[in-house]
């Protein structure tokens, strides 16, 4: 059809999405391309080579980067999951808890981590950890990540929840679902797009964090950003590009698998 008469769709939006995707992915093409660069610099092309992939597994820093990747992912997954759970509970209390005095302060507390500049939070957290005798290490990173991931998980969940009428819970409770069951069987699935969005945001925020991590991490515990930021001072080396490309491939593979799994499940 030449004219788009469907009220649901907007003609320019597909194009905009493609532009959006292009902007998002264009730098990654650079990353991928230069991961195969024989030269040391990302700005000069030295021919094709897999040396940086070899370097990732056997180079002098391979152990460090591998450990950093493990740390980063385990922290991101645990922190995003915990933060999403906490945020979901909080959103339920705030959107479905009626009106009460603690509502606004709670909302303020939840959004506090994004309002305080990271460096301040970093220094403050470090001072605070020290004053209460927390030893820095993996756990301190994890706890800090959980805390600052909460608002990123919270806001999409809250936004979604506000769009869900409470009639659905009422119907569920009318059918003998306890409040918990009504939540699990009705509200939770309906909130799913918000929860997934919140989780993904929390996940990438955790995966990307440098400043706070750099302050609160214990000696010798590295995450990918802290490992990578160090390398950059010497000029971004293609081995970082190779690691990034591998991460990208990993995520693409995971998404593809989950897509087909869900498809297969749907047609069952």
């Amino acid at each position: 059809m030449s004219v788009n008469t469907d009220v649901k769709t907007y003609t320019g939006f597909r194009a905009m999405t493609l532009v959006c995707m292009f902007i998002l992915y264009a730098p990654l093409i650079v990353v991928t391309a230069y991961s195969f660069n024989a030269s040391e610099s990302i700005t000069t092309w030295g021919g094709w080579s897999l040396r940086w992939y070899v370097d990732v597994f056997s180079g002098p820093e391979s152990a460090k980067f591998q450990q950093a990747a493990v740390n980063s992912f385990s922290i991101a997954i645990i922190a995003a999951t915990t933060a999403t759970a906490i945020a979901t509970a909080a959103a339920t209390a705030i959107v479905r808890g009626g009106k009460y005095r603690l509502r606004t302060p709670s909302l303020g507390l939840i959004t506090l981590p994004i309002m305080v500049p990271e460096i301040v939070l970093a220094v403050a957290t470090l001072i605070f950890f020290n004053s209460i005798g927390f030893t820095r290490g993996y756990m301190t990173i994890l706890v800090a990540h959980i805390a600052f991931c909460i608002p990123f998980a919270y806001l999409p969940i809250q936004a979604r929840m506000q769009g869900i009428e409470d009639t659905f819970e009422h119907a569920a409770m009318d059918l003998y679902a306890t409040k918990a069951q009504a939540f699990r069987r009705i509200l939770f699935p309906l909130m799913m797009p918000g929860i997934i969005s919140g989780f993904l945001l929390a996940f990438i925020v955790s995966l990307d964090d440098f400043i706070i991590t750099n302050f609160v991490k214990g000696a010798g515990v590295e995450t990918l950003p802290t490992a990578i930021f160090g390398s950059v001072k010497q000029g971004l080396k293609p081995n970082i590009m190779a690691i990034s490309t591998m991460l990208l491939s990993l995520s693409v593979v995971m998404v593809t698998i989950s897509y087909f799994v869900s498809k297969w499940d749907n047609t069952k």
Binding site: V7, G12, A89, G97, I110, P117, A159, T167, I204, S251
Partner: protein
């Protein structure tokens, strides 16, 4: 579509009234302990005397705030006048963050909308597609972006080759580059919350609007946007607020020629200056500003919503 047009799904819903304190408990504990308490430390620090090269001396003073608001000249002994430097830095940051937010909204909203109107099975795929690039570290993405945008970079080459431009576009080290960088850093923070809202939108509402002669654009503005406002607000907060304090994109893409709030504050802790109370004070001023903005906004929301 199941359910009537508008049955009770109001914000004042209280299904989980009894459990609300329990549900909030984890966030109170985690945030109270690991964010609120440290922030309190900073509030206190902002009223303490700076120790040379970082740290504080436990003597209360308003020096940090004085430094923020009063200009005493290069040598600190002129008559105090209103300090414009920091106000300008704040204003610049707000301006940049604001433009970045608008840009994200202009591109992010259509993207979110488009994704939300995909068939059931493919929506999740699109959502992942939006976040996959963020598995690559921000620094690397930003450096790569910089590489793309360079005067002699691939983008200019391509545009020159197809003859769209005659001279390379000078983007790097401009404000546009900063906005682009911020936009690129935070795009999913705009797209995902909006997507989550639109996904639940009842499209019969759009049909009703179209039926009443609203053009598609008007429908978008008068019907869809108000209905998915919570998502838009969430997205704007998630882009605007972190953009305010961002420093990587401004530094790498914008050339760092002018301080942004983020770099200014960072400098107080990690730079030569080592003036913690001032860094804390600037943060608290930023924090109160954002809080006030949000409160004004929330107030307006409430007023708009309470019209009976």
């Amino acid at each position: 579509m199941a359910g009537g047009a508008a049955s009770g799904g109001s914000a004042a819903s209280d299904t989980y009234k009894e459990a609300r304190h329990w549900l909030l408990m984890p966030s109170w504990l985690v945030l109270g302990f690991f964010v609120f308490a440290p922030v309190c430390v900073m509030v206190i620090y902002s009223f303490l005397t700076k120790e040379f090269r970082g740290g504080v001396i436990w003597e209360p003073t308003l020096a940090a705030y004085d430094q923020f608001f009063f200009d005493r000249g290069l040598f600190g002994d002129s008559d105090p006048t209103l300090q414009w430097t920091y106000i300008e830095i704040f204003w610049r940051s707000i301006w940049q963050a604001g433009l970045a937010t608008i840009m994200s909204l202009l591109i992010g909203f259509p993207t979110a909308y488009f994704i939300a109107t995909r068939p059931d099975g493919t929506r999740a795929l699109w959502v992942f597609l939006i976040t996959i690039p963020y598995w690559v570290n921000l620094l690397i993405r930003t450096v790569s972006m910089k590489f793309l945008l360079r005067d002699e970079g691939p983008m200019n080459d391509a545009l020159l080759n197809i003859g769209l431009i005659g001279e390379p576009l000078q983007i790097i080290n401009t404000n546009l580059a900063v906005q682009l960088g911020l936009f690129y850093s935070y795009l999913p923070f705009m797209v995902l919350p909006i997507y989550a809202s639109i996904e639940r939108y009842n499209f019969t509402m759009s049909e009703a609007a179209a039926d009443l002669y609203a053009t598609k654009f008007t429908t978008l503005r008068r019907i869809v946007l108000p209905a998915v406002k919570p998502g838009v607000i969430a997205g704007c907060i998630l882009v605007f607020v972190p953009s305010l304090g961002a420093f990587l994109a401004p530094d790498l893409l914008g050339g760092a020629k002018n301080f942004m709030i983020g770099s200014l504050i960072e400098e107080q802790f990690k730079g030569n200056a080592g003036n913690w109370p001032f860094g804390a004070a600037a943060s608290m001023i930023l924090l109160s500003m954002v809080l006030v903005l949000l409160l004004i906004f929330a107030q307006q929301q409430r007023r708009a919503g309470a019209a009976t």
